[in-house]
């Protein structure tokens, strides 16, 4: 009969209306500033720079290779290479970024910078309350503000961090073993430039 479906639909919406007052299970809304849903482990918002140890400048993993800058689709990363070098986690002297800016008003959270980074220096953060009253300066984030310690990374992405830590430790052990071998009297063959990723 004509109109039957409308009556059924009206009954359904009435049931929802009344039900939302009776059972709290129906209300799926989270009252945001007071209540929060814990983020899932693979949540990602904007990139940050990882450092080891306590000093953000000394422990910074980034070697200013500028791969992420070139790969970034919206071109939101700006890097200036340093003139001098500082030791990285294996003790090898490396360049470091004199300037590393990310414009998060341009960033589209694609994670390509993370995928391409050979040094596990850039990762995605889960911080999302980044609103600011200054839409130009406030959204252009510099090196210092981008730096997060490795413990932070372990906290937000435990599985990922454990895997990265294990790999880096293995690489470091390998490098040390090699260094020991090099330190031995016999001259070593030329060392490979970089360890293959995931080795």
């Amino acid at each position: 009969m004509l109109g039957e479906g409308i009556i059924k639909g009206m009954a359904e919406t009435a049931r929802n209306f009344l039900g939302s007052y009776v059972s709290d299970e129906r209300l799926t809304t989270v009252q945001y500033p007071e209540e929060r849903i814990p983020q899932i482990e693979n949540a990602r918002q904007f990139p940050f720079l990882l450092y080891d140890g306590d000093d953000w400048h000394a422990g910074m993993r980034c070697v200013a290779c500028q791969i992420c800058e070139k790969e970034c689709p919206p071109k939101c990363i700006y890097i200036e290479k340093s003139k001098d070098k500082k030791p990285d986690y294996t003790g090898k002297a490396q360049f470091y970024p004199a300037k590393f800016d990310i414009d998060i008003s341009v960033c589209m959270s694609c994670q390509i910078c993370v995928e391409v980074c050979p040094f596990d220096a850039i990762k995605m953060d889960t911080e999302y309350e980044l609103s600011t009253t200054d839409r130009f300066g406030g959204l252009l984030i510099n090196k210092q503000k981008l730096s997060r310690s490795n413990s932070h990374f372990r906290q937000i992405h435990p599985t990922d961090a454990a895997e990265v830590d294990m790999r880096l430790a293995a690489e470091k052990a390998k490098a040390e073993a090699k260094a020991k071998a090099a330190a031995a009297p016999k001259p070593a063959p030329p060392a490979p430039v970089a360890a293959p990723i995931g080795a």
Binding site: M1, L2, G3, I6, G9, M10, E12, T13, A14, N16, F17, G19, S20, Y21, R26, L27, T28, T29, Q31
Partner: protein, 398 residues
Amino acid sequence: MSDTFDQIFVSLKHWLLGYLPVWSQPVISCLLSIAVIIVAFATLFAITTWLERKGLARIQNRYGPNRAGIPLTNISLFGLGQPAADGIKALTKEDIVPFAADKLVHFFAPVVLVIPVLLSYAVLPIGRNMVAVDMDAGLLFFFAVGAATELSVFMAGWSSRNKYALLGAMRAIAQMVSYEIPLILSSVSVIMMVGSLSTVKIVEAQSTYHGLLPDWFVFTPWGFAGFILFMISALAESNRSPFDLPEGESEIVAGYFIEYSGFKFALFFLAEYLGMFAISGLGITLFLGGWHAPFAWLTWIPSWAWFFIKLVTLVLILIWIRGTVPRLRMDQLMNFAWKFMLPMALLNLVGVAIWHFMTPGLPRWLVGFALVVGPYLLLGRGLMAGKNLAKRTYRFAE
């Protein structure tokens, strides 16, 4: 006692006018009526926006606005401060006029839209002795000013120089022109019964009580059909869901008022809701006994309160419908208007005539009932025939 309360606004106006010089009394009397209408219905508009957001939210299992309350405190009053916050926002927002727009027409469209909508309240009896103008051709006046809104919708759509705006305006006009016919035809049934176009006389004709039920026109077969037809057309006339094609957010963004911002947008919003109240008020006047109480023992509640109780009830039903029914497609809209609404409204006129000339009694009820249900079933079957109305099955990508 109940009489004083019933006539409190009328006596108040007379009392106020008594202090004024005689020459100024007609003008001040007019202004007082206008002020009362604007204040009462603008307040109702504010409350309705809140009710609508709350109601729709609950239908969709959400909370709805529950933050805005009294400023600078933590008292939220179930979000009742929301209309005030929205109003302040609309007033303080930047008024943007597109570069290519026809500036003059763009400016006048919202103004020209609000005026006829407010004018239509002039003939609505909102209580005993409470009608701004008791016109002999009151109903005709209502429909005449209602027809004038179509033009301002067109002005808004055309002057914006925006394809969505023009599409929305065209849809709105096509829809309003089509649904105006069943709207007027369903009201004609009441006019035939009462023999007058005056809204006051129409309310008077429904003042008696017959046993338990009042003599409202909605409690007759033709009146019930007329009321349903009227309210469906009213929904379409006021561009509300499921007839909100002119605004269709998912298709044409906001339709004819897409290029309006700030207070001009608020005027469109206001006009839409005021139009909805006006046409619901007319439905109450025509079919639901106007300001009369539904039962004889409830007459102690003032007449104006009854009018507003009925109005809010109708508005709540409209909100309920909005929360239920999805938007129609343009061809469905037109098919429904011309293949269902129009024949039903015309057959209803025949039903009224027969009801009018038959003597009261059971046969009259049976004939009246048959004249409504028969065409309804036949038309419904005819319209649904040949359509594949089985439950749709979806194939999802794997």
